[in-house]
C-alpha cells in the first residue's frame, strides 16, 4: 500500500492522457472510492496542464515531471516544471470566481484547491516550479 513512481514527458498536451492512464492505474491498485479517485485524477491533470502550458510554455524540448507517492493515509503528487514560476501567494489570495462565464480559463487552481486537501507551490532555482497536491485517503 506504500508506493512511489515518477513520470517525465515533453511539454505537449498529447501526453496528458498518458499521465491520466498511469494515475488511474495507481488509483485502481489502491482501490480508492470513486469520488476520491475522480478528484485526484482531475487535479493531477490540472497541475500537469499548468506545468506544460504556463511553466514550460508548451516547449516540447522541456519536460514536465510528475511524482506520485502514496501510503495508506495519504496520496501526494508533485509536479515539476522548468519555468519561472508565478506569484502564487498573490494569486491564492484572490482566486477568480470559477462560475463567471466571462472567463474562459482560470479554473485549474480553484479546482485543485477544492478537490484536494492541500495544494502548495514552491519555486527554487535548481528544482524550478513545484506544485504539491495532497489528499487524505482511507486505504
Amino acid at each position: 500500500m506504500t508506493g512511489k513512481i515518477s513520470l517525465e514527458f515533453p511539454s505537449e498536451y498529447k501526453y496528458l492522457n498518458l499521465v491520466d492512464a498511469l494515475c488511474n492505474g495507481i488509483i485502481r491498485d489502491i482501490e480508492l472510492d470513486p469520488k476520491t479517485a475522480t478528484e485526484i485524477a482531475v487535479s493531477v491533470i490540472e497541475a500537469c496542464t499548468n506545468a506544460l502550458e504556463h511553466g514550460n510554455k508548451s516547449n516540447p524540448a522541456v519536460n514536465v515531471r510528475v511524482l506520485f507517492m502514496w501510503d495508506k493515509n495519504r496520496f501526494a503528487v508533485e509536479v515539476y516544471d522548468c519555468g519561472e514560476g508565478f506569484d502564487y501567494r498573490e494569486y491564492m489570495k484572490n482566486i477568480p470566481d470559477p462560475s463567471d462565464i466571462d472567463h474562459i480559463r482560470g479554473r485549474g487552481i480553484f479546482i485543485m484547491k477544492e478537490m484536494m486537501d492541500s495544494l502548495s507551490f514552491e519555486f527554487s532555482d535548481n528544482e524550478g516550479m513545484k506544485v504539491t497536491l495532497e489528499k487524505v485517503i482511507s486505504g
Binding site: 498536451y13 478528484e39 462560475s99 462565464i101 479554473r107 479546482i111
Partner: protein, 112 residues
Amino acid sequence: MKYKIREKEGVVLIDLSGKLMGGSDAELFKDCIYDLLEKGRKKIIVNLGKVTWINSAGVGILITGYTTMRKKEGDLKLLNVSEKIKSILYVTKLNLIFDCYEDEEDAIESYS
C-alpha cells in the same frame, strides 16, 4: 477532439469525441460554433458521450460555445455528461449555467 454534426427537429447535435483540452481544440470548436451561427442554427446540444478525456481548459471551450450562442439568442446544452465532467461542473458551479441531459430525446424536447 473530433466532432460530427447531426440535425433533428431543428436542433443541432454536435457529437464530440476524443480529448477536450487546451490548445488546438479551442479554435476547432469556436470555428464549428461560428459556422453554425452563420447558418442560422441556434439550438445546440453538445453530446459529450464519447469524450474520453477533459480538463478545465476543455470546459472553457464549452463555455465559449455557450456564451457565443447566448449572445445571439441561441442556447447550448449538454448531453451525456460523465461523472468526471460533472465533478468539474459542480465544483465550479457551472452546473448552474449548463443544462445537462442524460437522454437525447429529452434534450431535443427541451427546445420545443
